[in-house]
Subunit: 341 residues, 2 copies
């Protein structure tokens, strides 16, 4: 008998970790693309880009939307959020994704939970034509509450539409808003304070004015705009994109318009989705605060030439995503002005 | 007056986040290399690889070594650990690093802490010729205890030494052990249970038998083997590398030797560093458990032809890193055998 300290005593179960790794390996294998040149389990995943193409990388997390997943004990959507968020971020730079890597950290590894998370990541990777090249699953005793975890991701893509990163914009260019699929991944600390704090709701309670539960509405995955925008991008009709994440329309559109232009956004140009009406009414927050915190129904904004606005609107709608002209660029000094609210 | 809910009420201070971002931006700028083609603050960082070269990516975390940093309130070393760990992982695949991205998550952002963490990341990136291309700093109320955070990293490199990934090994090849710079980043749950649990020590207490504190010994950064091995790699003298991380020598060397060979490692071929003697004595753990949990003084193992062992040993030692011949490959079936302990 050995009364020495073992790693298992210290809270790390390497055997359970190995069994889970085998299940994850199969999920990862199914995302393999032609770009991948290594096997699962090597120290680093190998891949190839198209020679001469510039690469784009981005890192992100899911944030406190994870808490909703914990409350609802549903873990297959947060991976979709993370992948699609990252895909959208590099799309703005004109890039198509090549590979994705995840970091999942938990206190004690629950194999079913981790497998659900990775299944979500793998599904979203496949839908975006992106290989889930590997990742790290960290078991960190005393870091995370029981049943909780953190999830971060990292994407690398290659520039397929170089004009996007150049952002050659002019006064008179039109802004096309693309409908979000809900709250996406920003504003969840606000959302939690409102629904679970002030309103005292639980995850399984009905969301006010809907036939869905609170968690069903709040967990709706962040949508990928890659398949929605690819036809217009391939046709060379998009001059710039802004992914509407933390900071909302004002805090993201300003990053693409540059110093000589203002963006005028007419916030009455689209019908505000129901969940944002509920958030506005129940929180009492003013419009400016709401627009800095939430996407308010617009997950991506495309800047297009005036003459091409109608054809781009048509191409986007053909993919099943709602889109609307919601403003324009004018001479200015880099401001985003919300009008019409 | 507005009694509406604001993001600040909900625990997220966007202004403090912006101020910190400006400080981080300067640290990041100083790591810029010729490979980088974007500015700080874009949605995704842009970079270029050498045309035609295969790429290698890896993700990792620091693990529970972070807890020692929290106890000692010292945050400038964990970033070095993370970058060097990632650099070593892709070095094993024959890659030199191009870019690194970090993910830092905390409950409430402490600007000084985050700046120290990123300063460590930036220093290590510079020493490895790698650009800190960007990252994500996530403020997640209710996820992390006060003063705590998690830290993960993602690296992309390009293959500069393609022979390494091919791993053409033969019976008779020699194993060269490269000295670790301490415990590196594996085994910290064990270490914490031993020093802070069983032995009841504090981070500032003297480490047994040294003039250093417990935290000084336990926080010694994971070393990068890139500058140490580059001369031998450039000379084409390394057939394969194994980075000795979680799983120790048996759990990592087996990943490179392939199915037709065994690795025989003579564990009396090097002098075991003092901290591992203390861990062995105070924990009572047996040799097999210690070797599965810790690097035991060997942070990297190089596989070389017998005829080149002496010249590789000389080239490594010239860089100031201790190295020793510690075994060889024999006919077998993929096992790692520890002998001589």
């Amino acid at each position: 008998m050995n009364d020495g300290l073992t790693y298992r005593d210290a809270g790390v179960d390497l055997e359970a970790a190995r069994a889970t790794k085998a299940r994850l390996s199969e999920l990862v294998r199914r995302t393999r693309t032609d770009a991948v040149s290594s096997d699962f389990g090597s120290f680093g995943g190998r891949f190839r880009a198209t020679p001469g193409r510039e690469l784009v990388a981005s890192a992100d997390g899911v944030g406190t939307k994870l808490k909703i997943a914990f409350m609802a004990d549903r873990h297959d959507t947060v991976g979709i959020d993370l992948v699609n968020h990252c895909v959208n971020d590099i799309l703005v730079e004109g890039a198509r994704p090549l590979i994705f890597m995840d970091y999942v950290a938990c206190g004690v590894l629950n194999p079913d939970t981790v497998t659900s998370v990775v299944a979500g990541l793998a599904d979203a990777c496949r839908e975006n034509g992106c290989a889930l090249l590997g990742g790290e699953t960290a078991e960190m005793p005393d870091f995370y509450a029981e049943g909780e975890y953190d999830l971060a991701g990292f994407i690398v893509g290659e520039v397929a539409w170089p004009a996007l990163a150049r952002r050659e914009l002019s006064a008179g260019d039109r802004l096309i808003g693309l409908a979000s699929s809900g709250i996406h991944t920003n504003g969840y600390s606000f959302v939690r304070a409102l629904f679970f704090g002030r309103l005292g709701l639980g995850a399984r309670d009905p969301f006010p004015g809907t036939g869905m539960s609170v968690s069903e509405v709040l967990l709706r995955p962040h949508r990928s705009y890659l398949p929605i925008l690819a036809p217009s991008l391939d046709a060379g009709r998009i001059r710039a994109l802004a992914h509407i994440t933390g900071g909302g329309i004002p805090g993201n559109l300003d990053r693409v318009i540059g110093p000589g232009l203002d963006a005028v956004v007419r916030s009455d140009a689209w019908r505000r989705p129901h969940e944002f009406e509920v958030i506005a009414r129940e929180s009492g927050a003013d419009e400016a605060e709401l627009f800095r915190t939430f996407n308010m129904g617009v997950g991506m904004i495309a800047v297009v030439r005036e003459a091409e606005a109608q054809s781009v609107l048509g191409q986007i709608r053909e993919t099943g995503c709602d889109a609307f002209e919601c403003g324009e660029l004018v001479e200015g000094d880099g401001e985003v002005r919300l009008e019409g609210a």
